[in-house]
């Protein structure tokens, strides 16, 4: 899949005043078949918007999306339908992404009916059961409604639904963020397993570095609508180049009490969107005069490591160890 210069501007109306918010600005990347690309960022980074645009749940304001070589950016719903079969999505909230009035059987049979994959009721049921087993659920769950399940189980149903059409690619939008830690581990392992078994390609969106590290081959770091760093996972974690990436890593509390990270809490400055310079200016401690005037472009640090910064980091590991 290829995404070129994607941009999304939202118009909001507040008592007659129309304001524009640029959620995504000039995002480009490719995803190779079989890899898991991670998209990490906090709220407002635009990562969810990108995820939605790729499966055309939102239409980009400008830019191109190419799925398997085909430019799908301007296709209408009907023309895009065959792609939907192959490019699926799993949402974050297992409580609201399933229709509360449909049983598991109905929920999972719909994709089969809609895409005309299988119309016969009996055969549909069989296919549904097969996929249910794949995600670790059982036949007895078929006639239950979503509210009868736990969060983890609902998410399994959501994954099953995405699998019904035998897709090649799945966008996973924070699939475990709403789940308990122990359940999260189960779902992550399940996703890895399914990827291997069904030859899938993933776009994994999250704000959790640990999860990204566990699941992804390559990572894109987003900040205020732009990609600020792109690198293979290991490299990103051992030598992050962008100050924001380092900032993220330092901010995440590690469950190991021996590893501390000092944070200057007196960080009072609000994040402002500067017109000319770098977006990260207000929180950056490495700012050069250049950072105020020119918006940094993505620069290659090595063949597969890109960073959007005038003064990227060069040192390795950011963690301090006590003793």
């Amino acid at each position: 899949m290829q995404v070129e210069d994607l941009k999304k501007v939202f118009r909001t109306q507040n008592f007659g005043r129309v304001s524009k918010i640029t959620a995504v600005e000039g995002v480009s990347f490719t995803i190779q078949r079989g890899e898991t690309l991670g998209l990490i960022g906090e709220s407002g980074s635009g990562k969810t918007t990108v995820g939605r645009m790729i499966v055309k749940l939102l239409n980009p304001s400008s830019g191109h999306i190419k799925l398997d070589g085909h430019d799908v950016t301007h296709l209408n719903e009907k023309a895009f339908k065959p792609f939907r079969k192959r490019f699926q999505i799993v949402f974050q909230d297992p409580y609201s992404s399933l229709n509360p009035r449909m049983t598991v059987l109905q929920l999972l049979s719909r994709p089969l009916s809609v895409f005309g994959i299988e119309k016969d009721r009996k055969k549909q049921r069989m296919k549904v059961i097969e996929v249910l087993h794949d995600v670790g659920l059982h036949e007895e769950h078929l006639n239950r409604y979503p509210h009868e399940f736990s969060g983890g189980q609902r998410q399994r149903v959501a994954v099953a639904r995405a699998l019904m059409t035998k897709p090649e690619f799945i966008v996973l939008d924070e699939p475990t963020s709403a789940l308990d830690v122990s359940v999260q581990a189960q779902i992550l392992n399940l996703l890895r397993q399914l990827k291997a078994a069904h030859n899938l390609t993933y776009l994994f969106i999250s704000h959790d570095l640990g999860v990204i590290h566990y699941m992804c081959d390559r990572v894109l770091v987003m900040y205020m609508g732009e990609i600020v760093e792109s690198a293979p996972t290991e490299e990103l974690f051992t030598s992050p180049a962008h100050p924001y990436t380092r900032f993220l890593m330092e901010s995440i509390p590690d469950p190991d009490p021996e590893l501390t990270n000092e944070i200057d809490y007196v960080n009072k400055v609000k994040a402002l969107q500067s017109t000319y310079g770098c977006n990260f200016l207000s929180r950056c401690d490495r700012a050069l005069p250049n950072c105020f005037d020119r918006h940094p472009e993505l620069v290659k640090l090595s063949s597969n490591h890109l960073v959007r910064c005038h003064n990227p980091l060069k040192e390795a590991s950011v963690w301090k160890r006590d003793g």
Binding site: F91, R110, V114
Partner: protein, 263 residues
Amino acid sequence: MVGFWIIVAFIFTALFAPWIAPYDPSEQDLLASLEGPSVAHPMGVDFFGRDILSRVIWGTRVSLTIALMAVAISAIVGALLGSLAGFYGGILDEVIMRIMDVFLAIPSILLAIAIVAALGPRTSNLVFAVSLSTIPEFARIARSAVLVERSKEYIEAARAIGESRLSMLFRYALPNSLIPMVVQASLRMATAILSVSGLGFLGLGVQPPTPEWGTDLSLARTYLEIAPHAGIFPGIAIFLSVIGFNFLGDGLNEALNPRLKDR
């Protein structure tokens, strides 16, 4: 629950009227005219010598049937219009809702009077008149319910598996919007009964000799001082049925709404 049982009682009465009513409601016993409640006539007799109890019982049929038909029609039409407006939005939404606003601006009783006066007091016209003023209410409810559902994630998920917009509306959004509709239906039954009775009272409703609470009330008005029972009992019937539906509506609201709130 109270409401539920009251309504059940009324429905029962309506269904089994021919067997429960002690007299034929049109049967006149002029000698007994305007007699108060007695063993022979537990609710008394009206001006024309007709047994009030029987008239009240048969009246249940009339009121309930008309109200039911009116509410059913307006619910279906209103729901359709409202959900289309809510789901598709844009110009369709504007057009439909402005039309609804027009009807809402006109007091329902006036609208009903106008229609019946223009078209004549046939039952079908009554149903039409009462339903017309109720349609906007349902449209509103349906529209807001659908609006709420529309922004929920499972609708997006439906898009992702390729559902058409119409399908999303009918298969996903609408079923989840039913609860406020059901509650509203019960409450509207109360209003409808009031409208029917109101029209009857004004002489525009069901025509005599058909027993109807409103018309009977109107008849009794003249003689209220000497024969209050002739007015009291139909009045109580109206009162109880309206309260019954209101309670039922409230009860339904309580019972059905929190249930859908997930953990």
